[in-house]
Amino acid sequence: MCDTCGCNITAGNQHLIRPGGKFERTASGAESVDVLRGLLSENDHQAAHNREHFDGHGVLAVNLMSSPGAGKTALLEATIQALAGELRIGVIEGDLETENDAERIRRHGVPAIQIATGTACHLDAHMVHDAVHGLALDELDIVFIENVGNLVCPASFDLGQHRNITLLSVPEGDDKPAKYPVMFRAADRILLTKSDLLPVLDDFDPERARACVRDLATPAVMQTVSVKNGEGMAEWLEWLRAERAAQGERVARGESARPAVQPDGAHLHAHTGAPAR
């Protein structure tokens, strides 16, 4: 476990336990209860198990995060329609209440499991684990996890996904990445949604949004997309196809992948020791 083997000691915290460091173990401190363990290590452990499960079935798992109403479900509906007959998709929906989003997805002939989180503002790896067992993974190529609409909490919980997508819709304003850095830093790709509104909401400057993202020191690409007029859909679908193909190649090599940015030490929590990325 991670509290005994030292795998939690990372570049960010090793100064605490180095000789002279704050938590250095001394002769007189023989009864020390130094821990250095991630607060969410139980969740991370479950997430690693989920990821193994996806990998075992050759499935690519993509976590969609955004504020409520940024267009996650609409994007999924358009994606499912566009990839019908090409890639088999399953969806895990997270909301505080209602089965509405899962019903929207099922209308397209795609399996969807709704997680009603009650008061919880995010999905965690245990909730996703229960939902995963409701999906026939052998019959799927991509599982989308539509997280609870929230620009804060979902970023802190690994679910076992391979990639994170964060949506920023035009009506929200171009400085959201500066206001919610943890969320946008977690993204492997940022989708600027409802781009058909750009001519109307002309105070939104995509270049300003892009600069805010760059300030977060992330290489994540930001692209515009509109499910209304189809702008950017081809680029998004091409990214998905490439990620799906890459996942197939990784699985064949016995490897796995994680989102580029992980909480401190989480990249060392590999369940099997398989290379992370």
Binding site: G12, E42, A120, M183
Partner: protein, 133 residues
């Protein structure tokens, strides 16, 4: 907010460790929380009593060390301080940096009471030596 979930996860870990150490009571819990962890220390403190009630850590004090954000530049190699929404190199200004610290969300140390005594992992600088077992 998700701080209550974090507190509940923390309690689970604290109880496991306290059992392993045969502790009667947990007195102090040391955490390291970075600004980029997504967890707000003040909200964590407020959520703590809700999660800790009727547990072995009911009366434990939460001591939270707020780690600084520091980045290392992949271009010029400099290490510098940074802000949560501006993680650029402080020397050359390039965006290609690696986070050195600032996203920690760690349980670093527990102080326990066992058989009427106090156990802790410090050198004694902050705790009275007379309380050592």
């Amino acid at each position: 907010m998700h701080e209550l979930s974090v507190c509940q996860a923390l309690i689970g870990q604290v109880e496991t460790i306290a059992r392993r150490e045969s502790a009667a009571r947990v007195t102090v819990i040391h955490l390291a929380i970075g600004p980029l962890s997504g967890v707000e220390p003040e909200l964590l403190r407020r959520a703590w009593p809700l999660a800790a009630g009727a547990t072995i850590a009911e009366e434990a004090e939460l001591l939270i060390e707020a780690a600084d954000i520091r980045v290392e530049c992949s271009v010029c190699g400099a290490e510098s301080a940074a802000k949560a929404n501006r993680l650029l190199c402080g020397e050359c200004g390039d965006w290609r940096t690696r986070l050195v610290s600032g996203d920690e969300m760690l349980l670093t140390r527990l102080e326990l009471e066992r058989n009427g005594g106090v156990q802790h992992g410090d050198t004694g600088a902050t705790t009275e030596d007379s309380r050592h077992v």
